[in-house]
């Protein structure tokens, strides 16, 4: 601290005294003297930026303790940003508006965050030792509630965003049968993620956080109970409403059976019932390949599997 102060005094003295410390400054002053003559006393040469005096192992959180704009003289990184001049490179950081405009996270480096955590530790309670893994957390607490608290320097401690409550639950933790699960997924729509099997409910319609939390829990309960009920009109579910392809009673099954019956008729094999045909190996094969094709989309392997099954079904030989 003393050292810094002394250095600063030297710098200030250097302004107002004629012999310059470094040769570069001398040259600059020479030039400015030559160029501007009488104005030379009024021109101040630039002091070197703070970056040149920064140690490599300095405490960065004291340079940027809070969110601040990008200061090129305080950030010792050779950053260039912006559209390059033709045949050139992007402009440097000095006086670069692009760098100042964008938000930066120079105040949130990992050591800074460690310090924040250390400061907050006094206000936190211990994590329960029994919950030492994600699976255990999920097993004991399947419903996750997420709320955010906002702190800002201002006249009021209230923030309207603080009332938002997010509820997350995995459907595998709920007791749902096949019909109930499909109905629930249809009821919630976009709030369900198929890849992670997580239902997310975000509530913010009430003014207080507690009210939103209660509403979220109420929604979950209602969804659960409603999905278990079967309404009268659910029997009118058509093929377009189905989530996945079901081969039974589809046109594919009809076509296949018709074709097979015609083939059998030409071969004069009578008394072959539909059930026998359905149970036969070729039809099973065909059924599986069509289901794979429709549910998983078309891939090379799916198409070749379908081709093989159709060839077996229709008895087409490939050998010349």
């Amino acid at each position: 601290m003393q050292l810094l102060f002394q250095r600063w005094r030297q710098q200030v003295a250097a302004y107002f005294s004629t012999p310059a410390a470094s040769s570069r400054e001398a040259q600059q002053r020479e030039v400015s003297t030559r160029r501007r003559g009488r104005m030379s006393q009024l021109i101040r040469s630039h002091i070197p930026p703070r970056t040149e005096r920064m140690a490599v192992d300095q405490d960065w959180s004291s340079v940027y303790p809070t969110a601040a704009a990008f200061k090129p003289a305080s950030v010792p990184l050779p950053i260039r940003m912006g559209y390059p001049v033709k045949g050139g490179v992007p402009p440097p950081k000095e006086g670069n508006l692009e760098l100042i405009k964008i938000p930066n996270f120079l105040h949130l480096t990992p050591p800074a965050i460690k310090k924040h955590c250390a400061a907050l530790r006094d206000f936190c309670t211990e994590w329960p030792s029994a919950l030492d893994g994600d699976e255990k957390c999920e097993q004991h607490f399947p419903v996750e509630i997420e709320t955010v608290d906002y702190v800002s320097a201002g006249t009021s401690i209230r923030n309207p965003k603080a009332r938002i409550v997010t509820l997350r639950v995995k459907l595998s933790n709920l007791n749902l049968d096949d019909h109930a699960k499909k109905k629930l997924i249809k009821l919630v729509g976009k709030r369900y993620c198929k890849d992670t099997d997580v239902l997310t409910i975000i509530t913010d319609r009430c003014p207080l956080r507690r009210q939103n939390y209660d509403y979220g829990i109420h929604l979950l309960t209602v969804l659960y109970h409603e999905s278990w009920k079967t309404e009268a009109w659910e029997s009118e579910k058509t093929e377009e409403d189905m989530e996945e392809y079901i081969w039974e009673n589809s046109s594919s099954q009809k076509n296949a059976l018709d074709t097979l019956l015609q083939i059998k008729a030409t071969e004069n094999v009578s008394n072959v019932t539909k059930e026998e045909l359905l149970a036969s190996e070729v039809v099973r094969n065909y059924r599986n390949s069509v289901i794979a094709l429709k549910n998983e989309g078309e891939t090379e392997s799916n198409m070749s599997q379908y081709k093989e099954s159709v060839k077996k079904l229709l008895n087409i030989q490939a050998l010349p």
Binding site: S250, S251, S252, N255, A256, D258, T259, Q262, I263, T266, E267, Y286, V290, L293, K294, G297, E298, M303, Y306, K307, V310, K311, L313, L314, N315, I316, Q317, A318, L319, P320
Partner: protein, 363 residues
């Protein structure tokens, strides 16, 4: 307008695996087929030329490269049991890999064997850009397309002359107050009727298809139904009725009859179709798999079918195509003859037949 027929170089010795020749035009094959059918007893080294679009004119010959998918189809067709219901084959693949050419090759093969060939060069032409749409006299809800129907009837007549004399109608058809076709008349009369009275052309097409379907079950002749761009039958159309409401495909007589033909409730032949994205309506250019192009309706209608994938050129096929171009002096650039040039062509085209043709055109 009869296409002037001059000849077609046919080298059966070379039309097998080893040496392959490549053709580029897509839209003139019915005339090529007609040559073969007209002279069925021709010696193998018969020479025909056709006077059609560019590469054929320049090369003075029409050549087809023999590739695996076509050979596969030939084995299936040879081994198929004609008492069973017809098997549908769907040729699919990415853009420019040779699906239409494979179809043409199959058409040629069947024509050589004496089958009756119902070739629809491009079904997409029937669902877009039709100038005249008339209400059908047979069924009030349907719409006729006299121009397309008469065009097709003309081609059909050229390709299948001798069949038209053999097949007889099985019932009486009344075209109008004064025109009617009695039972037992040759099918050629129905075709003539359609051509002279253009108003009845679409219905004539329907009658032709119905008769052929009924009679080929008896086994006297085999029928090949070759449709290019079969996904047009189940998609959307760009046609509008007079009150500007859109027309769906089943309201068109031609499409309705063709759909019935493509069903597998008859026997004694085969149905070979291709899926085509170029020319298809309202489909993204990356779509090439059956489900994407046919849609749910089309897939369910054609199911069960045998899908046949046509890939890009293999190494060998690329080599032979390149050598053919050199042989015909299509590639004029000096550097094209070098190894480097060949590698460059291979890289730029990605072994895609269509790309290769486009690249070599200015060379």
């Amino acid at each position: 307008m009869l296409r002037s027929v001059k000849g077609f170089i046919c080298r059966p010795l070379k039309l097998d695996h080893g040496y392959a020749l490549h053709m580029a035009a897509k839209d003139c094959f019915s005339s090529v087929v007609s040559q073969d059918v007209q002279t069925p007893a021709e010696k193998p080294r018969a020479i025909f030329y056709t006077n059609e679009s560019d590469p054929i004119k320049t090369f003075q010959e029409a050549c087809v490269m023999v590739r695996k998918p076509a050979l596969e189809l030939f084995t299936y067709l040879k081994n198929s049991n004609f008492a069973h219901p017809v098997v549908r084959y769907v040729i699919y693949g990415e853009r420019g890999t040779g699906k239409t050419m494979t179809l043409c090759h199959v058409v040629h093969f069947c024509a050589r064997q004496g089958w009756l060939v119902l070739h629809i060069p491009d079904a997409h032409l029937w669902v877009k850009n039709c100038k005249e749409l008339m209400q059908s006299s047979y069924n009030k809800e349907r719409l006729d397309q006299p121009l397309q129907a008469s065009f097709w009837l003309r081609n059909f007549r050229t390709t299948n002359e001798h069949f038209l004399k053999e097949i007889k109608t099985q019932q009486k058809y009344v075209w109008g107050k004064r025109d009617s076709t009695e039972q037992g008349r040759p099918l050629g009369e129905v075709v003539e009727q359609g051509l002279t009275r253009v108003k009845n052309a679409s219905d004539a097409v329907g009658v032709v298809l119905k008769e052929i379907k009924q009679q080929c079950c008896l086994g006297s002749f085999r029928v090949l139904v070759a449709v290019d761009g079969v996904n047009a039958l189940w998609g959307r159309t760009t046609l509008k009725k007079e009150d500007k409401s859109p027309v769906s495909p089943e309201e068109l007589t031609l499409v309705y009859n063709l759909r019935k033909m493509v069903m597998n409730n008859w026997s004694g032949g085969a149905v070979v179709t291709t899926l085509s994205q170029t020319g298809s309506l309202f489909k993204p250019s990356s779509a090439h798999l059956p489900h994407e192009l046919l849609g749910k309706e089309g897939f369910d209608a054609l199911d069960p079918f045998v899908p046949i994938l046509v890939p890009n050129y293999t190494e060998r096929e690329f080599e032979s195509c390149y050598h053919y171009y050199l042989h015909c002096r299509w590639l004029q650039h000096e550097k094209a003859r070098t190894e480097d040039g060949k590698e460059e062509l291979r890289f730029l085209s990605g072994c895609n037949p269509w790309q290769l043709e486009r690249l070599s055109a200015p060379l």
